[in-house]
């Protein structure tokens, strides 16, 4: 542990700032503090932490391993769908049980299930549970799906892609195709996941109807923060030491790593699948705070945004990705949510809801051209000023006179 911190001085900083931020939010939240922060804003902050987690995963796969995956938000969305299925099923079950309780004859289990199904699938004109809902009644099994579904998809997709040595921009295009195909499939009403309606009402936790949303929001906020902290530690550990060496070696010169005897495809598959699983977990924490998930969430553009966050924050450093995701997604909701004042130029009025994307695009281009290290690169400026990196021996040959001269 001590060695991990020594090789990653960012860990105590990151965890310290995260803890301070959490305490601050807790003291200002409605349920636990002064109420200066509204419940919906606490939810926004909690969601932002989940986005930071998926950004860190993206940084590991892109910034460290060099695989520009433009499909990781698909895994994020699948995690959300997996937990959403249980949330919807369990809550509808309670409602149905309540309404059937007054019936003169107690309902059979089959009747209960049919009633749940017609409640959930009424919007798409169906009344039967599709096969993929087989485990929806079990929280434990559905949580397993949060891990298994993104993990297996990534494993199969990655195995096919990496085995054929698809790299670079072709791999990026393939991942875009994957996420596009998935979202188009889910848009269909007969996909079994309510088509474009998606899953809704996810903020209502089954059995906790009496608990106010202000408490739920702060609980999810803390859960997201813990997941982010755990994810940061786990990834920092994984990319330090020898694994980090090999993975960065793959990014910089894949063929050389191969000639050293490492099976590059297995390493890529490992990183791709691991990050997909973490993305799924992040999604499972995000969507209960968002309340709704629909196929638009896993449209190709979502994964591109993810790459933009990581690029702006600074890839190749975990805290950079987290900073980028937090900053850009919060700014995005500020600009598009009407928080930013419109600018009247006299002849034209800049409305940020329209112009935010332009601003984001310009900043992305600017960062790529002028600050390839991203926002995280600013940390280097401070760190390097404090501690000049003078390691090794830059002087003349050890046989030179200076040794004896210096000794005098």
């Amino acid at each position: 542990m001590r060695e991990l911190v020594r090789s990653n001085p960012s860990i105590p900083w990151f965890l310290g700032i995260l803890a301070a931020f959490c305490l601050g939010v807790t003291f200002l939240a409605e349920a636990t503090g002064t109420g200066a922060l509204s419940t919906s804003f606490v939810k926004t902050l909690g969601r932002t932490l989940c986005l930071c987690l998926v950004a860190i995963a993206m940084d590991v796969v892109w910034g460290y391993c060099g695989i520009l995956s433009l499909g990781h938000m698909a895994f994020f969305g699948l995690g959300g769908y997996a937990i959403g299925m249980w949330l919807m099923y369990a809550r509808t079950e309670l409602i149905v049980a309540e309404s059937l309780a007054n019936a003169p004859i107690p309902p059979t289990p089959q009747e209960v299930e049919d009633a749940i199904a017609s409640q959930i699938f009424g919007v798409v004109g169906a009344s039967d549970f599709p096969a993929i809902w087989a485990f929806a009644d079990s929280f434990v099994l559905q949580m397993a799906m949060v891990v298994l579904v993104p993990g297996l998809l990534a494993l199969v997709f990655g195995w096919l892609a990496f085995r054929s040595r698809v790299t670079g921009v072709y791999l990026s295009i393939l991942t875009q195709a994957m996420t596009l195909a998935l979202s188009l499939y889910l848009f269909q009403n007969d996909s079994g996941l309510r088509g474009n309606n998606g899953l809704s009402g996810l903020q209502n936790l089954p059995g906790l109807g009496a608990v106010p949303q202000s408490v739920v929001s702060i609980a999810f906020f803390w859960a997201s923060a813990l997941a982010l902290a755990a994810g940061y530690l786990a990834f920092a550990w994984a990319v330090s030491g020898k694994m980090g060496s090999v993975v960065r070696g793959i990014r910089d010169n894949e063929a050389r790593v191969r000639f050293l005897g490492y099976h590059v495809e297995s390493f890529k598959l490992f990183v791709f699948t691991l990050t997909a699983i973490v993305s799924g977990l992040a999604g499972a924490l995000y969507y209960p705070q968002a309340g709704i998930i629909n196929p638009a969430e896993i449209a190709p553009i979502a994964s591109i945004y993810l790459a933009v966050w990581v690029a702006i924050g600074g890839r190749g450093r975990l805290y950079g990705a987290a900073i980028g995701a937090a900053l850009v997604s919060l700014l995005s909701s500020w600009f598009t949510g009407g928080g930013a004042p419109d600018i009247d130029l006299g002849f034209y009025e800049i409305q940020w809801t329209d112009w935010w994307l332009v601003l984001l695009g310009v900043s992305f281009v600017a960062v790529t051209l002028y600050a390839p290290k991203g926002i995280g690169g600013l940390v280097d400026l401070i760190a390097e000023r404090r501690r000049p990196a003078r390691t090794g021996d830059l002087g003349p040959d050890t046989s030179a006179l200076r040794k004896t001269e210096a000794a005098e």
């Binding site: 030491g241 020898k242 063929a255 191969r258 000639f259 490492y262 099976h263």
Partner: protein
């Protein structure tokens, strides 16, 4: 210093047996026959120099042995059990014990000298082995030894990208040593080195060849002469002559295609 370069795992064979055998290997790129019915054998231990004009197929030969290029026909057999190398992946071939030093030094420039050597160090190579890898004193000591051998002992914490061209050459040789291979394929090891360093390189290669099979591809005749070993002359993708340096340099064909120019 002898113990440094000789891996503890290396079998101390006294009897010279064939380690690598290529027979009837041909490969063409877009109709151009880079390798044409090439046959080649090397024992363990043995030092062999491969010379030949540009385009003779020296690099393609190494690409075939290391699995980078698949030949159109022919056999490549390896070791006591005569494993067919053509069926193995590049990484598997490297794990079998074939190490390669590239002509242009290719080290991981963003990483420190120590990390470069640690990555090459002979250890289990699976993703989970690597993830759960713990630094050992043994490994650290071996890295120190190799660093001393290649003259980079003071530079271990430095980023490899900061090294000079010659130092990168040495680092790559060090990585090759750390891999502890049975067969070393060394492409122009002395390029960009000072005369003193060249001497050190010859010395190192000769010491390595006491227990390992070493193939050196080299342009510099003086360097080859100092290696004092059997020489294979490649021309247009096949072996033109083989024998001692004096033998091949007196061969009229060799003089015509290579030395005469």
């Amino acid at each position: 210093m002898t113990d440094v370069v000789l891996a503890p795992e290396a079998p101390a064979s006294t009897r010279k047996s064939t380690l690598l055998e290529l027979s009837g290997v041909s490969v063409s790129f877009d109709g151009f026959r880079a390798i044409n019915n090439l046959s080649f054998q090397i024992g363990e231990p043995e030092l062999r120099a491969v010379i030949g004009p540009n385009g003779a197929g020296k690099t393609t030969f190494m690409d075939i042995v290391t699995g980078k290029t698949r030949p159109d026909e022919g056999h490549v057999l390896w070791g006591e059990k005569s494993v067919n190398l053509l069926k193995l992946s590049e990484s598997r071939i490297a794990r079998e014990g074939i190490g390669r030093k590239f002509q242009k030094p290719t080290v991981f420039e963003a990483q420190s000298v120590r990390e470069n050597l640690a990555m090459a160090l002979k250890n289990p190579r699976g993703p989970f082995d690597v993830l759960l890898y713990r630094k050992t004193e043994d490994g650290a000591r071996r890295i120190e030894e190799i660093a001393r051998e290649i003259g980079l002992a003071d530079h271990l914490p430095r980023t490899a990208g900061e090294l000079s061209h010659g130092q990168k050459q040495w680092l790559e040789i060090g990585m090759l040593l750390a891999q502890a291979p049975r067969l070393l394929l060394v492409d122009e090891p002395a390029a960009g080195m000072t005369p003193a360093e060249r001497e050190h390189t010859t010395d190192l290669l000769k010491r390595l060849a006491r227990r390992h099979a070493v193939v050196v591809v080299e342009h510099d005749m003086e360097f080859v002469r100092r290696l004092d070993c059997k020489v294979t002359v490649l021309h247009e993708g096949s072996v033109l002559a083989e024998g001692s340096l004096d033998h091949v340099t007196s061969n009229q064909q060799v003089i015509d295609v290579y030395l005469g120019r």
